[in-house]
């Protein structure tokens, strides 16, 4: 009987197809990525069955964390510059062009106006470590109200309608939440959104 010779096959695998797929996926993820804006506080939002998606633009976000601090954030660099100038006028403060530029890059602020220049001097690393007191909301020094009001007054060409979203932590205490809602109502905002996460199946 003749011996069956097993033909020697090359062990080399053609990597081209795999490379193609890898880079296709890479391109997809690179284009689809939108980096999360760094937030000064971690907020664990409550869940709901609501399926309305939050638009990405024209959003004012009020974050309430576990300890009852309130943070203010608005999108759009131009808008932020404009709002800072309006706020500076109210509180008789002067900001240098560099400070205004720096402010326009901040997605969220959680300091009273008096500490704002100091906050703008900080580096990104310092900010990550810093423990911010939050924007004051009490009726004597209602800075949150002014931020909201000035944001609503600020006219920006491309802005259609400013939506206001409250992003609260599950364990945020009710008096703070009520206070924020009361401030919104004082500023004639009766329609707003609560940011929630997807409901887990029960």
């Amino acid at each position: 009987m003749a011996k069956v010779k097993v033909p020697r096959k090359s062990t080399s695998v053609d990597m081209t197809a795999m490379t193609d797929v890898a880079f296709l996926l890479l391109t997809f993820f690179m284009l689809a990525t939108k980096f999360k804006p760094d937030e000064p506080v971690v907020v664990d939002t409550p869940s709901s069955i609501s399926e309305i998606k939050l638009p990405e633009t024209d959003i004012m976000q009020l974050t309430i964390d576990k300890t009852g601090r309130v943070f203010f954030g608005i999108d759009g660099q131009k808008t932020r510059e404009d709002i800072l100038q309006r706020m500076a006028k109210i509180y008789n403060m002067k900001f240098s062009p560099e400070e205004i530029k720096e402010f326009s890059l901040q997605s969220t602020i959680g300091v009273p106006m008096s500490q704002l220049p100091q906050f703008l001097k900080m580096t990104t690393e310092e900010r990550a470590k810093a423990n911010f007191p939050g924007v004051p909301t009490d009726s004597l020094n209602n800075e949150l109200g002014n931020w909201i009001w000035e944001s609503r007054l600020s006219k920006n060409a491309e802005r259609k309608e400013l939506r206001i979203a409250i992003k609260g932590d599950r364990d945020a205490n009710m008096p703070t939440v009520k206070r924020v809602i009361a401030v919104l109502q004082e500023k004639k905002v009766n329609r707003f959104n609560f940011i929630t996460s997807m409901e887990k199946a029960e």
Partner: protein, 210 residues
């Protein structure tokens, strides 16, 4: 490496003639693929695909409403939910201006949802037709607009349950969102978030939830 040299290349030629080495034209792709997948992993982990969800809420206007513009509702039509501490809800009805005995309930499907659905069904006979319409929508018998219009009609039925939500200071934000969620689940069209009154704080004391 994915490739193993299969002989060839440069061997000694017997003829003594010197020839240039034949170099393989193949390039090893392995490191490139490695890099590709590394970057994919990086972008996959950093990317945030899902947009946050929101819940819309309308608050009543702070301005004082004139007496003639006020709509009066039957006492028996409105249920009051007090959000108390430890994730409890206290419910009561008004009868002849006096609150009924407060009932303590939990959140979730077995607690407050059962009560709300039951009370709403008593007052809104059309409520049970919602799942029917939903089924028709899924089968494509009615359009999304039609479904929404019908849902709206059912929800705003004049005798339907009206819910008054009052949050005590020691409740949590999660409770508020949960209860608003129940409004959606139970198809309650008319509800309002109102400040808690002193008498209700007293009431919470009587059930040891202050």
């Amino acid at each position: 490496m994915a490739e193993i040299e299969g002989g060839g290349g440069g061997g000694k030629h017997k003829g003594g003639k010197k020839r240039g080495k034949k170099l393989s034209t193949r390039v090893d792709f392995t490191p490139m693929v490695d890099l590709g997948f590394l970057l994919i992993t990086f972008f996959m982990l950093t990317t945030s695909m899902n947009k946050p969800q929101t819940m819309e809420i309308n608050m009543p206007d702070k301005n004082v409403i004139e007496e003639k513009d006020k709509t009066l509702v039957k006492e028996s039509q409105a249920i009051t939910l007090l959000l108390a501490k430890d994730d409890k809800v206290v419910t009561y009805f008004l009868k002849d201006g006096e609150p009924s005995t407060p009932q303590i309930q939990n959140f979730g499907a077995k607690g407050i949802r059962t009560t709300l659905l039951e009370e709403n069904r008593k007052r809104n006979p059309l409520l049970d037709s919602i799942p029917v319409y939903k089924g028709m929508l899924n089968k494509g018998i009615i359009t999304e607009e039609e479904y929404k219009a019908r849902l709206f009609d059912i929800k705003s039925f004049k005798n339907a349950l009206i819910v008054v939500i009052k949050a005590a200071d020691n409740s949590k934000y999660e409770n508020l969102v949960d209860i608003l969620d129940e409004m959606l689940i139970c198809n309650i069209g008319r509800y309002a978030v109102v400040d808690i009154s002193d008498s209700e704080v007293e009431m919470l004391k009587t059930v040891n939830l202050n």
